[in-house]
Symmetry: C2
């Protein structure tokens, strides 16, 4: 998605340790007009795919998923990252490791909001090693719902999360795939799509 | 907002300890069509108020703020609840106490995304004792930005957060104010607005 690649080149900051900071428009400050363009593009990329619910994960997936959901006319469920007294005890859980936060945490979805009738599109802001997406996919499989696809805003193509999911036959669409980035020059190489 | 009160009566669950569970449509599963109605109503309630940015707090404020922002045509900044390596060290912070999670945590906003030119609308899903809103207001004041109003989806009117903010002259609008609720009968009494 050229609009997104241009925006990443303009406002993204490459940091040591393969960190791409896009918090000026994606995951701290959120450019809602841009998110609407993501919604149109995901709708086009998943055209004809039956989807009745979007699943994402707190926190930075939520805003994107909410806007994207408008184009699919479906509700969003967001997985929570830690136990909360507002959850019922009747939950699907999966352990995932965060690349950003360098720690393992539990991801939780109430059993009430995923059922075997659900056709799920997973939406998230980033995919690196794919652990967050895999955690959500584990939960979908446990619930008996059907995973219809995974939509990612920025995929780090030099890490193996996207490849692993595609090798399993999962329909993954990433709006921008970063194949290389250089913290010393700030240069970012996107995969041709 | 009658549509919201009806939905709370239909799908909300009153639990012991003054907990109102609305996770089927507000803060775990999100009814995006309903959120659009919130957006229209907040736009009406803050008509004529100059707003160039919405500030909310992760996680459950984000989806609401993203949808509401479409009606104001402004970006959203969400405050983060714990230190992240993706933040720069150049941050506004405030300590707040969560009613839901019974703990104190740091709320963080990067200094890059709040400036003295900003006219801020704070949006959140719930207000009980008002600590989350006050934490965000502290950050706004520290940044030199102007607080233009606070928009809350569900206010617990039997706790004093809303009153404290209104007594300070802050323009607070809550789409539904719960004045009483009874866990034994499930009955919910809304304030006439």
């Amino acid at each position: 998605m050229k609009l997104l690649e241009d925006r990443i080149r303009k406002d993204g900051v490459v940091k040591e340790g393969n960190v791409l900071k896009v918090d000026s428009f994606l995951n701290h400050q959120m450019d809602i007009e841009l998110f609407n363009e993501f919604g149109k593009e995901f709708k086009r990329l998943f055209e004809g795919v039956e989807i009745n619910k979007i699943l994402t994960i707190e926190a930075s997936g939520i805003g994107i998923a909410a806007i994207v959901a408008q184009y699919f006319k479906v509700p969003v469920v967001f997985a929570k990252k830690s136990q909360s007294i507002n959850l019922d005890g009747s939950q699907y859980t999966s352990k995932i490791e965060s690349f950003t936060h360098k720690r393992v945490y539990d991801v939780i979805v109430s059993k009430k909001y995923l059922s075997p009738d659900d056709k799920i599109l997973v939406i998230d802001d980033f995919m690196a090693n794919g652990c967050a997406a895999e955690g959500l996919i584990n939960i979908i499989e446990e619930s008996g719902a059907t995973l219809q696809g995974v939509g990612i805003v920025i995929e780090k193509g030099f890490q193996d999360g996207g490849k692993r999911l595609r090798d399993r036959g999962i329909h993954v669409e990433s709006l921008a795939i970063v194949d290389a980035m250089d913290a010393s020059t700030g240069e970012i190489t996107f995969r041709e799509q």
